[in-house]
Amino acid sequence: MRANKLGLLLGGLALVMFLGGSARADDSHHGTTIVHTKAETSTYADSDAVAVVSPGVEASIEDPLSGWSVTGTYMVDIVSAASVDIVSTASPHWSEVRHAATLSAKYKPHLFGGGVSAAISREPDYLSLSAGGNVSLELDDKNVVPLLGYSYTHNTAGRKTTPFSVYSHVYSTHTINGALELVLDPSTLVTFVSDVILERGNQSKPYRYVPLFAQDVAPSVPLGATGDLVNQLRLPGKIIENLPLSRNRFALTARLAQRLSASTFIVSERGYVDDWGQKASTTDMRFVVDVGKRFFLWPHLRLDVQSAVSFWKRAYIGQLGPGGLVNVPALRTGDRELGPLLTTTFGGGFRWNIGPSLRPADVGLVFLAEGAETNYRDALFIKNRLSGFSALELEATFQ
């Protein structure tokens, strides 16, 4: 009920932003200011009993001649979950609301430019604050554009009904980006992005309990063992997740975009390694086809494959003493995204420009729909997860 009220509230907010954008556009009709507004509602559901509805709005104002722009976004995740991790610990189904907002500004009067951005994400048991900036320089008649960026994120994780002052974990993230955009020819653009992400602090989840097994039992715990079987085989007692207190992550992404006569091909490849021993490769492809002057259609394929972190175990070994669990593994996790997995995503979308005949792209309707299958190669509880995602966006530009 509360989630429904929030949805209505956000719908109203989206309407107000659109009307507000329209009013501002009238004021700036004779200037160079352009106002963009966007309202988006996305839905997600998977076979692990997780469902999310995410309404969001975005508004930006820019002056292309002066080179400045300001953008703000606001999004809400309304989450309902009864996943196997929750059920297996005899915990009740829960629902939660996350609020996320960003504000960014850019200024690029000539060859040199820069931008700043800030973001906040708030849940009952989690607060994330982020701020950053970047600078870029156009070289070789805009054919080479390097960019350097930095952002800092402060995360506080706690428990839903306990104030942060009583119980919380804090960890921070320093992200350094280097990007290079290159014009290969009049229709081809290549972008390289390198990321160095340094995470410091305790990022173990306060709710995530890891089952431990006797040494002679652990090897026989099967892949995807059900909650009932895990509870039958595991040692008594509960032990919480414990992750290393620092993580250094590195990613290199190459993106190629090529505009053909009536289509655009976009492919990107991201290679990733970190000092927890995880490696990953993510390939993403889209092929946008012009179906007439107002309608654009694209298929989307994404393949993500990753290895496990070095301390990953499907069945961690513990030892039971007279007073309970003793001799437990120092590092332990039940986060399946830290284990080996393969996710294949396939879907597509369309954009329908419904603006006036002189500027049809000023109003656009975008729809995305995708399905994904994640295969967990070495996890408890489930072997795979099927998920579906859809998003509906309405965009409007006023100038």
């Binding site: 988006e40 996305s42 997600y44 995410s54 999004m75 995740d77 996350r98 996320a100 960003t102 960014s104 951005s117 973001a119 906040i120 994400s121 849940e123 989690y126 994330s128 701020a131 805009k142 054919n143 960019l147 994120t153 993230t173 980006n177 290159l182 014009v183 290969l184 009049p186 229709s187 290549v190 390289f192 990321d195 989840k205 992550r249 590195f250 290199l252 992404t253 975009a257 505009r259 655009t264 976009i266 490849e269 995880q278 990953a280 490769s281 889209r286 946008v288 993500d304 494959v305 990753q306 995204e337 830290l338 393969l342 995503t345 995305l368 295969n375 190669r377 998920s387 995602f389 998003a391």
Partner: protein, 85 residues
Amino acid sequence: MNSSFDSLHRATRGTRGVVVACLLAVLCTALLAGCADVHAYQRGRLAHASMDPGYAASVGQEHVEAVHEGATGGHVGATSGCGCN
């Protein structure tokens, strides 16, 4: 299921070197080709909306990918995290 995954995983690992080599080749080619002048009047295709990274993507979609995948990176700018995993 498991054996097919293993096969795919092995195949992926086997091609990792090839992928890295291709990326380096693309990088070198791009660096050389980037010196070639493409003038403002030749940029009509480059300026097409579909060339923008955010054109066929959504914020919600990127969030789902971030939650599903252990890896991160590829975006520039401040984004807040979440306790989603």
